[in-house]
Symmetry: C2
């Protein structure tokens, strides 16, 4: 029986999960999806995610891949797994891909969003997905910070301790501010790769700038310092969402 390689796009509300990655404690998203797929395919399924997301972080387009035997079609896998998954996880698409595709190693870039809520009071209808920063911030200052961050830099100052990576040099290809809903400002960050907690530490530092406590040009010194203590505090998990993982469709 031949082996097939499948690529999944997955969305989840991370509020009640300990993150993507399977670990000793439950629940994790990977474990939930693997359990559903194993039942549908009647064989043990091991998922390769494009990367981890932290506890409480959401995804609108996480990607994972897995190898499986048998004749189940992508559509059967999609419907079967979704019927078994809890409502806070959904498989958005299943496609058969060539055997050399690997969700992590084939990834060329990722798009994350970080949503700030700018109302006077908190909003019960969005609170699971935003960081309430209140009104009156200077978003122009945040926008003026983008040129200091775009391109290839050593982002060691924006990495949490305990991460074990060979290089802390990463490339940001696009930074953008939009307003997807009233009272929500969305920071979108596209790059070829990200260090541990990098987007949340960027978001926290950019909020310091939007509050006038640091200036956009301070970012040059922060980057050059390679010192985590120079950057701002890490923004909370619930504002972060992995929107998209790019493969052949990477536009940069």
């Amino acid at each position: 029986m031949t082996l097939k390689n499948f690529k999944l796009a997955i969305a989840y509300d991370g509020t009640h999960f300990l993150g993507w990655q399977r670990q000793k404690e439950s629940p994790t998203v990977q474990e939930a999806v693997e359990t559903a797929l194993s039942r549908v395919l009647a064989q043990p399924v091991v998922l390769h995610g494009s990367g981890r997301t932290d506890a409480g972080v959401h995804a609108a387009g996480q990607v994972a891949s897995f190898l499986a035997k048998g004749n189940r079609t992508p559509q059967e896998i999609l419907r079967g797994a979704n019927s078994l998954l809890p409502l806070d996880i959904a498989i958005l698409s299943v496609t058969e891909v060539s055997l050399d595709f690997h969700a992590r190693f084939s990834a060329q870039g990722k798009l994350y969003s970080y949503d700030f809520q700018t109302g006077l009071t908190r909003d019960p209808l969005t609170h699971r997905f935003v960081w309430p920063v209140g009104p009156g911030l200077n978003w122009d200052l945040m926008r003026e910070s983008f040129p200091y961050l775009l391109g290839e830099h050593d982002f060691a100052a924006f990495q949490s301790h305990g991460a074990d990576v060979k290089s802390t040099v990463r490339t940001l290809t696009k930074l953008e501010l939009t307003a997807p809903q009233p009272e929500i400002v969305r920071l979108s960050v596209t790059g070829t790769g990200f260090l541990r907690h990098m987007v949340r530490t960027l978001a926290g530092t950019l909020i310091e700038i939007a509050k006038g406590r640091q200036t956009p040009s301070d970012l040059t010194a922060i980057l050059e310092s390679r010192d985590r203590r120079k950057a701002g505090r890490m923004a909370p998990a619930q504002g972060l969402c992995l929107r998209r993982v790019y493969y052949e469709d990477w536009p940069f």
Copy 2:
């Protein structure tokens, strides 16, 4: 000590509540807000809501009023109560109003929204607030239905049994379809008053029309029949949100 009258605007994620109205079983939104206000004001507080919302229905602008003694300012009440309330309820504003204001009896109209999710698969990031109806519906047919519903009609066919009201005549002043987010279609319904389950039954019937199972002009016969069985099935609670209650600001 003089009595003051306060008006509250309240938002809530209704997912985990048995509705607005205090009752034997818990939790209800009214009970949660009354408990918080009673603590802040150190006196028993009885809220008058603009009207009930069903179990699982949300609010972005429910209004309630209450009488209280003492010198607490609106701002102190707002901050104090919000610090005690769970994250799925927030008081958005507190204002002192004249003693003759009553959240229910002074109301001149209400705006409800009903959100349909039109993606191929369900969406974990919005599922608490939408009815997933899938892609391919004819929204133009829904829009063409609006003239049959606007204005004063006997909406008995759109009322759930068990309601005890003198008249089933109501006036709809505005119907609108918008797209607040990708893959979400929002039906906004403004009127001077609503019967029990009326917006959800309208939403369910309009989806039958958008699916081509009934035609816009069928609405005339449904209204004239005054027969609940002629209208469509009631749409689920989680798509409904009480957006606004109008008082002196009623534009119609």
